[in-house]
Symmetry: C2
Subunit: 579 residues, 2 copies
Amino acid sequence: MTVWTDTLKQRIEAARGKRPVDLLFKNCQIVDVFAGVLQETEVAVFDGQIVGFGERPAREEVDLAGAILCPGLIDGHLHLESSMLHPAEFARAVLPHGTTSVVADPHEIANVAGLPGVQFMLEATEDIGLDVFFMAPSCVPASHLESSGARLDGNDLQSLQQFSRIIGLGEVMNFPGVIEGDAEIMDKIQRFCGKVVDGHAPGLSGAGLDAYLSAGIGSDHECTRLAEAKEKLSKGMFIMIREGSQARDLENLAPLVTVRNERRCMLVSDDCHPEELATRGHMDSMVSRAMNLGIEPMMAIRMATRNPAEYFGLRRLGAIAPGCQADMLVLTTLQPFHIDRVYKAGKLVAAAGGCLLEMVVKTAGLPVTMKLSAVRLEDLRIECRGQWLRVIRLIPGSLITGEDIVRVVERNGEAVSDPQNDLLKVAVFERHHGSGRRGLGFVHGFGLRSGALASTVAHDSHNLVVVGADDADMVTAVNSLRELGGGLAVADRGKVIATLPLPLAGLMSTASLQEVVAGNSKVNEAAAALGATVEHPFMALSFLALPVIPRLKITDYGLVDGEQLAQVPLFVDDAPVRE
Amino acid sequence: MTVWTDTLKQRIEAARGKRPVDLLFKNCQIVDVFAGVLQETEVAVFDGQIVGFGERPAREEVDLAGAILCPGLIDGHLHLESSMLHPAEFARAVLPHGTTSVVADPHEIANVAGLPGVQFMLEATEDIGLDVFFMAPSCVPASHLESSGARLDGNDLQSLQQFSRIIGLGEVMNFPGVIEGDAEIMDKIQRFCGKVVDGHAPGLSGAGLDAYLSAGIGSDHECTRLAEAKEKLSKGMFIMIREGSQARDLENLAPLVTVRNERRCMLVSDDCHPEELATRGHMDSMVSRAMNLGIEPMMAIRMATRNPAEYFGLRRLGAIAPGCQADMLVLTTLQPFHIDRVYKAGKLVAAAGGCLLEMVVKTAGLPVTMKLSAVRLEDLRIECRGQWLRVIRLIPGSLITGEDIVRVVERNGEAVSDPQNDLLKVAVFERHHGSGRRGLGFVHGFGLRSGALASTVAHDSHNLVVVGADDADMVTAVNSLRELGGGLAVADRGKVIATLPLPLAGLMSTASLQEVVAGNSKVNEAAAALGATVEHPFMALSFLALPVIPRLKITDYGLVDGEQLAQVPLFVDDAPVRE
């Protein structure tokens, strides 16, 4: 039995010139990532693939008038959910910016919806004009300090390997677990033996790093300092230089890249918020920035094309050469890196900054993820059990929080908010299983004088987190999200005054990028109008519930000490010691 | 169920310093192939793997007194059979030369013994102190113009993928078949979709090369000219620069290698004869030669370490870093590349040029491959059927032959040899199936005045080829090899005067490298004593039967025109036209 296809036979005939190719690009130079030079040649495309260099019969000739053809850009590490967009809309947002492939870790949706969530992402990324590969999310749940929507064990992750677009194991954030030989995480890693296993080890060095690498971890995207990146590179980690919405490391790490080690480096976004996509772009802006920081253009481009392709074993991507997929950008100039047109698998998908694809949002297959019973005022009641409170203190621009000890403000036996002193109530409602579990506490630093903000984007388990000056407004905000199936909401004086619905797992919208950006502006403006002083109040809110970051956080189990990784009580016996 | 092992747990503990490592190398610099620099650090080894850099508790400290630790060298393309050694003895021969891993194409033995031959090679390469990976041989038989011992179809090749050390499809020599869309070769390629597929396309360029690459071919080791290599590199082929016994391309191709494309280049031997191993060495001499030709040391080393590891996806090889196998060379100097000691998986296996491993030759499992009935004088009889003969003309130092048309020398109705005019009889006996089929002809250029030379090394099908001044000596030589189970033999005046037994498929010896070199010298000296004028008479003999090379060759089917790829008759009607 012969399994080879007519498709391949026709491709070979087209390569030989025995059959007209679909497209012949003329009068151009190509970015030759193999030789590391620009090269003048015609490029022939047939059936979505590059089939040869040089003249041959073509159904259509494209005269590029001296422009440059560059391979499509690859984002080697990102969480699609951060864009708040359905993957198909994400594709429409990034294609004009030259991104033709991404490697996504569906960590967020997996924490909400488990395997069905990952399967939804697989289905939602079919035929969207962007190649989306996935890493199986290794840390679901991310910790035992909160209730996730699902748990993925070794068997679950192994079952994902049946899908050809699941190409490895996602960032192993539980690096302490690896170093301590935790059986569950080690089991997951070993099941991906021989495949790519991404790392995540901020600040890890020396023997701890050695131990982590001995388990077979291949990359890191958490380097922030040059010395850290140098050590990790020399120890064999592929360095993913992150330049995204949540962290910008390129300026610090650009001096890492030399002509001798560039092959071990790539550019990634990790997280891309909708505003970032609307204003800065995506991989194109990273490549530009790398060039502006002194990395030579050919190297900057390889860090966003061939290098990720090689790390992930995506042989047919990241280059313009016979046998490769015809993902190509037409550049008017190399530096500045200016993209005029984008071809994906030989099809023109973007021109002059706009995407030519229709928006088609498929939502079938996603389970209901909002399983919260209606919340009542008494659910927020905090019975007074002492004189002193442990209060979370926001630190502007940081995921890290502080801890304050302040005197309780009591009313009718309840500990209550005191907006005049910026003491606001904060609550996390478990929203995945209908358990009714909730954690209650207080926070300093939001600045709300009235009303409440609620969000179902709350790393890593994405329960519902709400902060407010007024309990009734908190209830209103929470219940509005319950009805929307998730999102961001602002309530004041008994009314919902702004929302951004995120019905896809409480994380993503079904609307366009423009609508999501507008909705985001609306909720942020509403928060500001209520007195919010923190720059990105919903982002601050979303990280209040992330218990693995120092120092004081809150989950549906209550307050958590992010250093000790243990629950701590809200009430404290003694007054703070003044130092 | 947890599948992770205590081994890994212990390795991590050792990396952390919680358990003593086996070896700690001190006072050394390492060749850091990732950063492309030398770096001072201690290297800790546990359970055969590098587990970390820097001091930690160790059961044994190795003071390297300022020496350099270099990753073990990898030969990315070779045919073990060319060494005439059992793989275990090959390992003993190359380990002192720094070769710790090879990727072998068992093309020769597969043509003789089929799948059982490949399985024999898999078994014979277990635990021999050298990591041997295999490419499934794609061209068995190599052509339809001769009788091979076996045929491997797509299903056979797919069945080999069950073995973890079969890592791809071996050199696709049938490039005309690919270009023409031949169903059988395309089927084989498609069954290895997503795996490494090696190429072999001497001189192929332009649209033909494009067509070949459109099928997914990844490498080429047949470049002899710089321009050829540049085109192939830019079109995405990994360039295997060959520097072996049969072809030395490094001098021509060294100018190809730049700091920007070196990652796409590697050094390979393709074929390594026993004399080469005994006198020049193996990968060490290639690295030295590359340096001497102006390639900077770090790049020359990467071309023999990390680059092949990355091309073949051998993540744990080709580097000194935590998580990598502890294959390391102790260099007294980087340039000249002088190896003092070799560690394989943390074990000292060679020192001061000698191998420390015992010779253990396992021959179990290899089927009987010599199925030739005893040959008689009348088997060599050529009945005279015309006045003129088509005669093969050897061209010294070339695989290519010429064709002469000469007048028949007749005796009793037979066409016979005429040693005084260097007209010798040549015959190929099918030896795999006992068919009795034989091809008969004449050859110019050997120079034998009496006696006969016979060989079972006869590319690509390795039938038995014999040349002689005297039919009776030819019979004697052939029957001696029949009894030995294969090898090289010289007969004269009715007696066997020298042999090199190659009982393993008629291709490989069970003796030591020294014995094989001595045996080879003996048969070559005996041939010279009989008047042989060609420099390597047995090598010339072994390629007389390779029908795919111009111009006139001989197989068990008779004379073959290597340009037309068709059989041609021995007798010609007309006298040659004098030009």
